[in-house]
């Protein structure tokens, strides 16, 4: 099954409609993908992008509409049909067997067999090497998948599709799991694939990326195609199409008026965890994830911690909340030492926390919205009377908070897990942003949210600052840091490489994020893969 040079495939979706009960997920969507093009599907969460691609990949059957390949109608009843027709898909969550090698994963399902029923492992390895070389993917066929970084695992998925002779490659939110560097690498590979004749369908809700990579942009909203643009389209134009109204991408905020130091972190060291909150096993590395961090956050200012994901941000937040043990250094809130305090004591001291992983750490999915709104105050007045819960007060609180934060839920009794990501985040904010907050720690507060929700969350955070709350934002989205921060700190391998004012240019932040220090004329370390 040596891969032939790609013959371009004209793919057309005509009037695809897919309903789930009363919900119309796709409403008469038509789409034409030209060979050798990157075609972006842009839309908010829930706009119908993934449903459409599942229809294309044979995972769902459309209620109406047809798929045409090179002018001929095709019907896919399973992914096998779609693969056979030359469609490849890289899901947001990889479909790899972690303990298997790259070659084993690639060959899974299409095993090459030698006479006698033995696996022809050599052939797959050669194919992987050849493809890897042709598109500059740097994938070792003998590496074990679970040892590979996420970015390389994604390439394994791409190789998998290519080995199956995909001439249309669907990438579903491919950059959601990647660092900025890995994203650029992915874009390079996408361009090479495109130049060799493969069509790419690139699904995203990130305006910048779509502009950078796409040849054609189709915008979906509420299951319908609302517009098609060719870059360069303005971001404001695309965003307006996506959400159906003009969105402010920048939060308008008054200059900060910093007061006294609220949070003071001094030489904080968090050792490599035996197990974190999630019970992930300890890694072999002896490097402390947080390695002697010091910073202050003042009342009425937002300190943004920028950095590539995985440089100790998660551990820093968990240590600040008392969820991870601290080896040395100190954490003080308004001068009071909280280094060894329990999570409960920190919450009582006035720290509000918006965790990075809202489904895992922020909400109890099976609990009602009302219960989640009192998740950390259920045993205090007015929600508790003695040892019993005051259900009327909890219900009244839910009604008020749902209204105030515009949480879209069918009822306060609906399980929080059934809400969309944006509404889940609103529930967490509604719970955390109450009276008596002195410090707000928000980690990746808008990850995975659509433009409208991002705007809402950002406004609320700035509102807190204006009320004199000290705010610590940890984000790997530079846009977010720029939009919110009054002061920027850059974290690299558990250390702060520098503080910068909000007007600093992105190149300088990039230098610090790659480990550059404050010292002038320091050579930039190479960003080794």
């Amino acid at each position: 099954m040596e891969r032939q040079s790609v013959s371009g495939m004209q793919l057309e979706l005509k009037g695809i409609t897919k309903r789930f009960g009363s919900l119309v997920a796709n409403d008469g969507i038509s789409l034409s993908v030209t060979p050798g093009q990157v075609h972006a599907l842009l839309g908010e969460n829930g706009a119908g992008k993934t449903t459409l691609m599942n229809v294309l990949y044979g995972l769902l059957q459309p209620d109406e509409g047809e798929i045409h390949i090179d002018g001929k109608a095709a019907s896919f009843h399973s992914p096998k049909d779609a693969i056979g027709a030359g469609i490849g898909m890289v899901h947001q969550h990889f479909m790899l067997v972690p303990p298997f090698t790259v070659a084993e994963n690639v060959t899974l399902g299409i095993e090459q067999v030698r006479p006698g029923g033995l696996l022809d492992a050599g052939r797959t390895r050669r194919e992987v090497r050849e493809l890897s070389h042709r598109y500059g993917m740097d994938v070792d066929p003998d590496a074990i998948v679970e040892d590979l970084p996420v970015g390389i695992q994604q390439r394994v998925e791409i190789v998998k599709a290519l080995v199956r002779n995909a001439s249309v490659l669907v990438l579903d939110e491919p950059t959601a799991v990647l660092t900025p560097g890995e994203t650029q690498e992915l874009f390079r590979i996408i361009r090479q694939l495109r130049d060799s004749g493969t069509s790419i369908i690139f699904i995203s809700h990130k305006l910048k990326e779509v502009q950078e990579i796409a040849d054609t942009i189709t915008v979906l909203r509420r299951g319908k195609v609302v517009g098609e643009r060719k870059p360069p389209a303005t971001e404001a134009d695309l965003a307006a199409l996506m959400v159906g109204r003009d969105v402010q991408l920048r939060v308008t905020k008054a200059p900060a008026t910093p007061g006294d130091v609220v949070l003071s972190v001094d030489s904080l060291v968090v050792p490599a965890a035996v197990s974190s909150v999630h019970g992930t096993p300890a890694t072999a590395s002896t490097q402390a994830p947080v390695n002697g961090l010091s910073f202050d956050v003042r009342a009425g200012e937002i300190l943004g911690i920028a950095g590539v994901q995985g440089n100790g941000q998660t551990e820093l937040c968990e240590a600040l909340m008392g969820l991870l043990p601290v080896a040395s250094g100190s954490v003080r809130l308004n001068g009071k030492d909280l280094t060894q305090a329990t999570p409960r004591a920190r919450l009582d001291a006035g720290i509000a926390y918006v965790p990075e992983d809202r489904r895992e750490d922020g909400l109890v999915g099976s609990f009602s919205v009302a219960e989640n709104l009192v998740l950390n105050s259920y045993d205090r007045k007015p929600f508790a009377r003695g040892i019993t819960l005051s259900l009327p007060t909890i219900a009244a609180n839910a009604m008020a908070r749902i209204k105030e934060f515009d949480v879209r839920t069918e009822s306060p009794a609906a399980p929080a897990g059934s809400l969309s990501g944006g509404n889940q985040q609103k529930v967490i904010l509604a719970r955390e942003l109450g009276e008596g907050t002195k410090l707000l720690i928000a980690s990746q507060p808008t990850r995975g949210l659509d433009v409208g929700s991002i705007e809402f969350v950002h406004k609320r955070i700035v509102e807190q600052r204006d009320q004199g709350v000290a705010v610590l934002i940890v984000s790997s989205e530079l846009d977010e840091i720029y939009a919110l921060a009054d002061r920027i700190a850059v974290i690299y391998e558990g250390e702060i490489t520098g503080f910068r004012p909000p007007g600093v240019d992105a190149a300088e932040l990039g230098r610090l994020m790659a480990g550059g220090t404050d010292l002038p004329n320091t050579p930039l370390p190479e960003d080794a893969p």
Binding site: T50, T51, E173, R344, E360, D361, G362, F367, L389
Partner: protein, 427 residues
């Protein structure tokens, strides 16, 4: 698996099925797991009937043309015996009304005979309900308590010892013994919880091992005259508990054995519901069970919750043992803890992990237990068939998709404790 909800589009699970009738029916079923449970019981009754009929020698050796009538009579006989043995026997009702006068009928125990089957059902249900709660309550906090057996034995040992070894005034004695039984079980539950909290050892393994340890500890205690063995006896049995420690019978000292233990079980079921759904502690326990990470981030003490809920559960199972010792058996031997601790898992499963469900499931299994001697003697249906029947019920309840497929109900996302319990071993 922690993708944000918003990025997931509605998947095929919600795909609609054709036909409005089936949709209406399915709507009625969605979230109404009671329907599934009832259908499971009905299905199991049919399967059990078939088994009873076609394992019966009379049916097996009948001439070909005679098989169906014979089978029918065996099935009918079995279920009539089940009804008569667990709810009411029409003969006793007839006998009651044939008596000369109402007062003499009551005095001579004919009224007692009418209600005796129900009384026996309640007696058999009492330890099942209490031990069932001991599984259901920790399940809501994310723990699998397989140690009902050990906790039940713990409760038996302490309540029996307090019952025969200590003398106290009449009302106080029984109260002290009941509290002792709770403590005896709670200690074992606490031990399992504490081991998990401190070392991370899985509670399933710990509680199973404690079951063995306690069974043999009991045997040792019963064989040591200086400890629990009845003086002068060579049997493995404790002395009888003092009559001041007996749980009072609800209807005088007649034939009906149902006693305050049954009321205690109902009170505990209500208490468990109230604790889990109306108190701050219950909120915490449920949050820890549903999402320990989020509970920890919200400032709850997860390990503390584990220890607490296992102690409560142990106490409940201990009360189950207490009800046996102080309510019906009045002494401990190596067999009167039966298999209640293990059957409790079945009860909790059938009761879908909810206290009210546990009461109904306990009563159902109590009825089957109470009626099985009659089924054996009257319909020649062996007791093993009764056990197969209970197993088949639970099998169907544990696999709602099976029932939904059989009755052509739309597949819904399984949320019931039944399915999650069987999945939970990966947790």
């Amino acid at each position: 698996m922690s993708e944000p909800a918003g990025t997931e589009e509605p998947s095929s699970e919600r795909s609609s099925s054709a036909g409005t009738f089936s949709q209406v029916f399915a709507k009625a079923l969605e979230g109404n797991t009671v329907t599934v449970t009832v259908l499971a019981i009905v299905t199991a009754a049919v399967v059990g009937g078939l088994l009873a009929a076609f394992t019966n020698p009379v049916v097996l050796h009948a001439p070909a043309g005679d098989i169906i009538p014979k089978a029918w009579s065996v099935v009918a006989g079995t279920y009539v015996a089940l009804f008569e043995g667990s709810i009411v026997n029409p003969h006793t009702v007839a006998a009651f009304f044939q008596q000369a006068s109402l007062p003499t009928a009551v005095h001579d125990g004919f009224l007692g005979a009418v209600f005796n089957p129900l009384s026996e059902t309640c007696v058999a249900a009492t330890p099942l309900i209490l031990a069932g709660l001991a599984v259901a309550v920790p399940y809501q906090a994310g723990m699998f308590n397989i140690g009902g057996q050990s906790q039940l034995i713990g409760g038996m040992i302490l309540s029996a010892w307090l019952g025969f070894g200590v003398s106290m005034p009449i009302v106080i004695h029984v109260i002290v013994c009941v509290i002792g039984g709770f403590v005896g079980g709670a200690v074992l539950g606490w031990l399992a919880g504490e081991i998990k909290a401190r070392t991370g050892a899985h509670e399933v393994i710990v509680t199973i091992m404690l079951n063995y340890i306690m069974a043999y500890l009991l045997a040792y205690l019963l064989s040591s005259p200086s400890l629990l063995q009845k003086p002068g006896s060579t049997d493995l049995i404790t002395p009888e508990v003092a009559s001041s420690a007996h749980l009072p019978q609800l209807f005088g000292n007649g034939i009906m054995r149902v006693n305050a233990g049954f009321l205690l079980a109902l009170a505990c079921a209500f208490g468990a519901w109230w604790l889990m759904n109306r108190t701050t502690t219950g909120f915490e326990l449920r949050a820890v069970g549903a999402n320990p990470s989020a509970a920890r981030v919200a400032g709850m003490r997860v390990e503390h919750a584990w220890v607490l809920v296992m102690s409560i559960a142990g106490g409940l199972a201990g009360l189950g043992g207490t009800a046996i010792v102080l309510g019906t058996d009045f002494a401990v031997n190596p067999s009167n803890f039966g298999t209640y601790g293990i059957d409790a898992i079945t009860v909790a499963l059938l009761g879908r992990g909810r206290p009210a469900g546990v009461v109904w499931a306990g009563l159902l299994f109590g009825a089957l237990t109470a009626a099985s001697p009659g089924m054996q003697s009257q319909a020649n249906t062996p007791v093993q068939i009764v056990q197969v029947l209970t197993s088949v019920i639970v099998l169907f309840v544990a696999a709602p998709p099976l029932i939904r497929t059989m009755f052509r109900l739309r597949a819904t996302r399984a949320r019931g404790v039944g399915t999650t319990m069987s999945k939970g071993w990966n947790a």
